[in-house]
């Protein structure tokens, strides 16, 4: 097939930038990485990009396609090429570019190291054999342990764009990998450190990291789990924590979000006094209900029951946020006919025949697929 790509070239030595277009011939199954290889081999040996495993596990080939981060080795080109679209390939965002599609990962790794990413068993002497831990307790960190540190989430992180010191989705997901690990004994210290400025509560919840993660790690969910665990441990002095906490209290007591109290509960009474003028103008325009008497929803009992259910079932803290879906099951399909396969099932009409042992089944007419 014919594949056309536009690539943002960048020369780190001179600072020169140019958008160059390439047209190549590639095999039908080619990925973006395969196409870059063809360009480098046959058209332009100076093109720079990282690669290694080409099987979505080493995390080398994060880059942007049409402005959103992808793993080049995971991105099949057939559909894009067939549509006639010419995608623009560029280096990942939020990290300095060294050359072409290669970014400097140093700031990325500094943040990973900042979360103290190693198991801390505290004063516990390890047993003679393994720590005995039920699989269900390890499942809490299943998704976070899939992270390949490719940087796609960091590339797309809006908070980091605004605040380059924000720890960011990859480092915080790595942090939860330890907070959620029953063998780790540094939970409180970790949660305290991650709750500081540039930490958990500086995430804007845009969900771009979940969206762009090629491995289903869902870093935003990891950040939510850290927040929930922090509050469970009583680490809630940050404004973000107080804000979230008031949401829950308000919903539980009245069934509504009482916005007029949200500001003082989040920012403290003194700071919110400054906002009184603004609040009055909102009130005048009917944007907020009057605070007194507190308005209680008719079916507030249902909200309270939900709260009690979570408590009764033990889904507190991170466990309330663990979604038990298996992340890799949520794969995009790449070939037409996938839905049909699911509809017909593994052995339905048109499926490959059932296996047999030699001599067990001599009728093979229906065999050739």
């Amino acid at each position: 097939m014919k594949v056309a790509l536009k690539i943002w070239r960048y020369d780190g030595a001179t600072g020169e930038k140019a958008l160059r277009e390439y047209e190549i011939e590639a095999p039908e199954e080619a990925t973006l990485l395969d196409c870059l290889d063809i360009i480098k081999d046959r058209h332009d040996g100076t093109l720079a990009y990282r690669k290694s495993c080409r099987m979505m596990i080493c995390g080398s080939c994060g880059m942007r396609m049409d402005g959103a981060a992808v793993l080049a080795c995971k991105t099949r080109m057939a559909e894009i090429a067939a549509s006639g679209h010419v995608p623009v390939i560029s280096a990942m965002g939020n990290l300095p570019v060294l050359k072409d599609l290669v970014v400097d990962m140093t700031p990325f790794w500094q943040k990973i190291r900042a979360v103290k990413p190693w198991l801390d068993t505290g004063y516990v002497e390890p047993p003679e054999k393994e720590f005995v831990v039920p699989q269900a307790e390890m499942d809490v960190i299943h998704k976070e342990s899939l992270c390949i540190m490719c940087g796609c989430c960091v590339s797309e992180c809006n908070s980091m764009e605004a605040d380059p010191d924000f720890l960011g989705p990859a480092a915080l997901a790595k942090g939860f990998r330890f907070v959620g690990d029953p063998r780790d004994r540094a939970t409180v210290e970790r949660l305290q450190a991650y709750s500081d400025e540039h930490g958990i509560w500086d995430c804007t919840r845009c969900y771009f990291c979940n969206e762009r993660c090629p491995k289903g790690v869902d870093p935003r969910d990891a950040i939510a789990k850290l927040g929930a665990e922090a509050m469970r441990e009583g680490i809630d002095s940050d404004m973000g924590a107080r804000h979230a906490k008031w949401f829950v209290t308000s919903a539980k007591t009245t069934g509504w979000l009482r916005e007029t109290e949200l500001v003082p509960k989040t920012q403290g009474v003194v700071r919110s006094l400054k906002e009184i003028g603004f609040a009055m103008s909102l009130l005048r325009r009917g944007k907020v209900p009057p605070p007194f008497p507190p308005h209680v929803a008719k079916d507030v009992d249902e909200a309270r029951q939900l709260y009690e259910l979570v408590e009764r079932e033990g889904h507190e803290g991170a466990r309330g946020i663990v979604q038990l879906e298996k992340p890799l099951a949520r794969l995009e399909r790449h070939e037409a006919g996938y839905e049909e396969a699911a509809a017909r099932g593994p052995y339905g009409p048109g499926s490959f025949p059932k296996p047999y042992l030699p001599g067990e089944n001599e009728s093979t007419e229906e065999g050739a697929a």
Binding site: T46, A48, I57, C58, W118, L146, L328, R333, P346, P355
Partner: protein, 562 residues
């Protein structure tokens, strides 16, 4: 100058670095990739240790399976050390936080694997290598924080530095900034991994080019058993990526185009869980007899059901869906044999020491030899840990005992700069990719699962032609920053030299043993003549071959069936 320089930062390199550091040495790690990008991370199915968590097992049983799997070419003293120390190494990884899968009691789960008498493969779903690489890097970061462990990432090690008969460091090309730099140490540990990229169809990453083996070869060191390249039976069609043996460990079937479980005709007892060499030969025979589909056979997991596939084999499903458009819950996966693992490598003793004072090797780059003529699935990750640890310990002890040395000469840097300048100044000639592609295709054709004398002869001639063309190779990128055009050209040079060693040793080994199969002229194993390791050394006119005895302890060669 460091006490210990570790070259390569996959499982073996990182384990060696940790051990050397914990022994009290200052450590410099040199790697052409960031450590977590290393190809150890692509290992899927698991890591073997006789823990006995699922069924009764013992290091002796593990040793016997390994000896038999090696087709009796493995050195039995090394294998006994290996299987005895493996359980302790696994517990240590678990204490460091490794995210292994658990059994119903909450202990480490163990799954059956090919040619193993007991379920002894510890795993993490089907991303075992990934969790190992990350736990080792966590431990590395912890020690980096403390101080005297430094990682020189994206530094391409190119030549060994040898002074007064001792290895004193490596000459590197700095990928990020450009330029030659020397990383020197009192001991050096090679842990650069394998060389699957010598073949067109391979599970190996683009970075597996045999760098360390070639560096050692050119420093005059012997390579051992280079004819033994393992072909993994289940590499995905068409991309060649690995689909784990764990799929068969969990009960997967191999089918030909008729839906027949053909392994019953080749290995009536073990069926799909026969040794890898046996299964790869069976598949190749089926495909050559016209019973394949598009040059592949099928790996059928449908009967395992969605739940098991999603919990135990999610990564394999992801690979099959992404690269072959097949969801293994509903359809069988097309697979074929592909180059996977080099059993041979830099000859070492049981502590990873080589012939050259101060130089150690561990992992796939080394040949201890634990794997002999055929490696068992799950044994390579274990080897990286156990022998990585041993090599790191020995290298540190050597460094700490050898005391301070004076300045090391920087002449190797000037030599390297001169040679690289010469290569970069060339403007007329051929770019490397075509030579690389021809080498890969011809090695697969002429030195693959089955080997025939005429084809091996032809391959030797072809390698000479390719080497001739390589002399005029042109690097198009003349820049300093991230010049992979340059490093890829250097890697190709390595691979051409190693291919020569492989085919030469293969042609001389007039028998069939393990992964080396000569159906036309020498279909049987010949213990009389070839119960020996081949040794390749670089001479004036290319590699020179000799032989060395296999170290036997308890097991005499027997007929090998599965």
């Amino acid at each position: 100058m460091y006490d210990v320089v570790v070259v390569g930062a996959g499982c073996a390199g990182m384990r060696a670095a940790i051990e050397a550091y914990d022994t009290g040495a200052s450590v410099g790690v040199v790697s052409k990739l960031h450590p977590t990008r290393s190809h150890s991370g692509a290992a899927e199915g698991g890591i073997n240790a006789a823990l006995g968590n699922t069924a009764e097992d013992s290091p002796e049983k593990h040793a016997f399976d390994t000896v038999k799997g090696s087709d009796y070419l493995g050195d039995q003293d090394a294998i006994e050390i290996f299987t005895a120390e493996a359980p302790g190494d696994i517990y240590q990884l678990e204490h460091w936080g490794c995210v292994f899968s658990r059994n119903e009691e909450g202990k480490l789960a163990q799954r059956p694997f090919g040619a193993a008498g007991s379920p002894r493969t510890v795993y993490s779903a089907d991303i075992t290598g990934h969790v190992l690489v990350h736990v080792l890097y966590e431990q590395l970061m912890k020690r980096m924080e403390e101080g005297s462990l430094v990682v020189h990432e994206e530094s391409f090690a190119w030549r060994l530095m040898v002074e007064d008969g001792r290895c004193v460091g490596v000459v590197c090309w700095d990928l990020v900034r450009g330029g030659v730099k020397l990383v020197t140490g009192r001991s050096v540990v090679l842990a650069t991994g394998g060389m699957g990229r010598i073949y067109r169809a391979t599970t190996n990453a683009y970075s597996c080019n045999g760098d360390g083996m070639a560096m050692a070869l050119h420093a005059g060191l012997p390579l051992k058993d280079m004819e033994f390249m393992q072909f993994h039976p289940t590499t995905l069609y068409p991309s060649g990526v690995l689909i784990t043996e764990g799929c068969r460990g969990e009960g997967g079937y191999l089918l030909n185009r008729d839906g027949e479980r053909f392994m019953a005709r080749y290995a009536p007892n073990a069926l799909e869980l026969a040794s890898r060499d046996v299964v790869s030969r069976a598949e190749t025979t089926e495909i050559e007899a016209g019973r394949g589909i598009n040059g592949s056979v099928l790996l059928d997991l449908r009967h395992l059901g969605a739940e098991k596939i999603l919990t135990r084999l999610p990564g394999s499903r992801e690979l099959a869906m992404t690269f072959a458009g097949v969801d293994p819950i509903y359809d069988p996966i097309p697979v074929r044999p592909g180059a996977h693992y080099m059993m041979g490598g830099v000859a070492t003793d049981n502590w990873g020491a080589t012939e050259l004072e101060g130089l150690y090797a561990a992992g796939e780059v080394a040949c201890v030899s634990v794997h002999g003529a055929n490696r068992l699935g799950g044994n390579s990750l274990m080897e990286t840990i156990t022998f990585g640890r041993r090599a790191g310990r020995a290298a540190a002890e050597h460094a700490l005992a050898s005391g301070r040395r004076g300045e090391v000469s920087d002449a190797p840097a000037r030599d390297a700069e001169r040679d690289l300048a010469q290569l970069l100044s060339r403007t007329d000639g051929e770019r490397p990719w075509k030579i690389r592609d021809e080498l890969g295709a011809s090695m697969l054709e002429n030195f693959g699962v089955f080997r025939y004398p005429d084809r091996m002869e032809r391959q030797l001639e072809l390698i000479q032609e390719l080497r001739e063309r390589y002399r005029n190779v042109v690097v198009e990128d003349k820049g300093e920053i991230f010049n992979t055009d340059l490093t890829q050209a250097l890697e190709l040079g390595y691979m051409l030299d190693l291919a020569w060693c492989m085919v030469q040793a293969g042609l001389a080994r007039e028998e069939s043993r393990g992964a080396h199969s000569r159906p036309a002229d020498f279909p049987e194993r010949d213990d009389e003549r070839f119960l020996k390791h081949s040794i390749s050394r670089w001479g004036d006119d290319g590699p020179e071959l000799s032989y060395e005895e296999v170290r036997m302890t308890r097991w005499q060669p027997e007929v090998r069936t599965y």
